[in-house]
Subunit: 339 residues, 2 copies
């Protein structure tokens, strides 16, 4: 491993856009990194009684992003989605590797991509520590590392009957942006400009994840859609749930849409990179305080229930009643976000 | 992160080929893995006073392998090239993530790929701990993790003037296989069958790397070509070298070729995944013993020299004299292996 690219004859480019910025970050604060780019491996060391959390995501053109997406957004998002996974475990980011296949050596593209990438890397003091570069159809694979005290990680399997179900921030705007870009709906340009950041530059809830280590019983990041991701928690915790659709936090822009679309985009749109988590009712005040400290809305949207039978059940309530099982299934299967 | 693939609707396939085998490996020996596939992140813990070595390689069709390469070979090689990087640092493999883009869900392909992948994973007790799956042009990105006591890693920057230069095994056969498959040369089918394993199923020198922790001053794995990789050591150690071309270990099959081709393929062919390392002359007996214990030839091929001037210099000696600077440059630039 190393950021080499003899194949492309663009070693200087890679040096310019990645290695120097990596070294600049490490010079300021090496953190857990004993050895960065330039050897066969990078080296990370952890504090005593800490574990390393590891997550890997691969982004492919046409599947995770449009071909004309600004490379600066791509750089941001490729790392953001990984930091969001670290956040869901309560891990503190300590570094990442980048493996990237590029159709051609394009200085302007690399410069913009690295600008977005290092912007979020610097925000979270998470340096690039190694990787690989090759020619090929555009493919971005980031593996990110976080540190967490032993037995403090928040896992999907810990939800208890009676726990509150919470979600951070607001959900649905990434899917609403996608709908507008795909011309599935028409959105005033002004509205689109307000919400599109949610799709292009999601903010991983790293500080929230760390703050929740002692409060949450389980957590997941919302990438596939709120209810779909909640299902992962319920499945691994062997629980059911009741969710209040009208309580799911939505933007004023989304609230202008039809009720059906509001619920579908917020509950099953995906690409939100908020945290969905469970916590005992005794922690409500603690969690409210965390939200105030982080200036991040944290909203209770339901309750964990004991498992009734073999098949997982989420009861979807709204102000006028409850969705039928068929309606619930339709919503749970409506996974159709970009990624 | 997780091995999900809602996009492909092939969750069952992924489960069948990857998750079950990962769980089976972890059930036998969890090693450093506190949490495997199935949550937002995997968790690794290290022994006290150990670091984690990290390496990442991306393999792309048409660049790193032919489109008709057997998927079983691909699975083997994708992990092998990463374990080879761990070996070059002296790290003990502890796990890996796999991110893979597939053009389509193909059960037979996945079964064969996973067979090769888990074959080498089991050989080195290195379990799959997480990853990502998506639709897209075939792309395989593995990130591998190893454990190593603090201050025991073998780095590229440690070579000292007067050190011996060593290489493990034999080099050149992967390039010879490629030449035959590309019809650059004609090789008897029998010869090809003997050597082609070197290209398809390289054996990362993991045990050697660990054994060398206390003997070698620097090491690198031979992926780009022996001399090119040695150059990385010399550059980072700020040294020159003298290398004896006729001492570079070659197979009997390669020795049937012209002297020019022998030297070029062995010294600059690449894709060998042997270790090139330096060690003080006082360690010769220790190193010979390591070679005997591992039943792996270890050959002295040169000497590290003090840096003479700003530009790095490798003097290439052979039994009849020394290559001219032009001839050396030609050989060093002859990097043309498949990867």
């Amino acid at each position: 491993m190393e950021l080499h690219s003899t194949q492309l004859g663009e070693f200087d480019l890679i040096q310019r856009f990645f290695k120097k910025q990596s070294e600049a970050m490490l010079a300021k604060n090496p953190g857990s990194v004993s050895l960065g780019i330039g050897d066969d491996c990078a080296l990370l060391k952890t504090e005593p009684n800490h574990e390393i959390a590891i997550t890997s995501d691969m982004l492919v053109e046409g599947r995770h992003f449009f071909a004309d997406t600004k490379p600066e957004y791509l750089g941001w998002k490729a790392l953001a989605v990984n930091l969001s996974d670290l956040a869901a475990m309560g891990a503190q980011p300590i570094g990442f590797t980048l493996a990237i296949a590029l159709p051609k050596a394009d200085a302007a593209w690399l410069e913009a991509f690295s600008k977005g990438l290092f912007s979020i890397a610097n925000t979270h003091a998470c340096p690039l520590i190694g990787g690989d570069t090759t020619a090929g159809p555009l493919n971005i694979c980031i593996t990110a590392f976080g540190a967490i005290p032993v037995n403090k990680s928040i896992q999907r399997s810990g939800a208890l009957a009676g726990d509150d179900i919470w979600v951070s921030g607001i959900v649905g705007d990434a899917r609403l942006t996608l709908a507008a870009l795909r011309h599935e709906i028409t959105l005033p340009q002004n509205d689109l400009e307000i919400i599109q950041e949610r799709m292009h530059e999601p903010k991983p809830r790293v500080e929230l994840g760390i703050a929740l280590r002692s409060a949450a019983t389980s957590a997941i990041d919302v990438s596939d859609g709120l209810l779909g991701d909640l299902k992962h928690i319920l499945k691994q915790s062997n629980k059911d749930a009741e969710v209040w659709l009208d309580q799911i936090p939505k933007s004023t822009t989304l609230l202008k849409q039809s009720k059906e679309l509001q619920n579908r985009f917020a509950a099953a749109g995906g690409d939100d990179y908020e945290l969905c988590f469970t916590a005992p009712t005794s922690k409500r005040d603690v969690i409210k305080q965390i939200g105030q400290d982080l200036k991040l809305p944290l909203t209770r949207i339901g309750t964990v229930k004991p498992r009734q039978n073999d098949s997982l059940n989420i009861a979807l309530k709204h102000d006028d009643g409850e969705l039928s099982p068929d309606q619930v299934n339709t919503m749970l299967q409506s996974f159709d976000h970009f990624a």
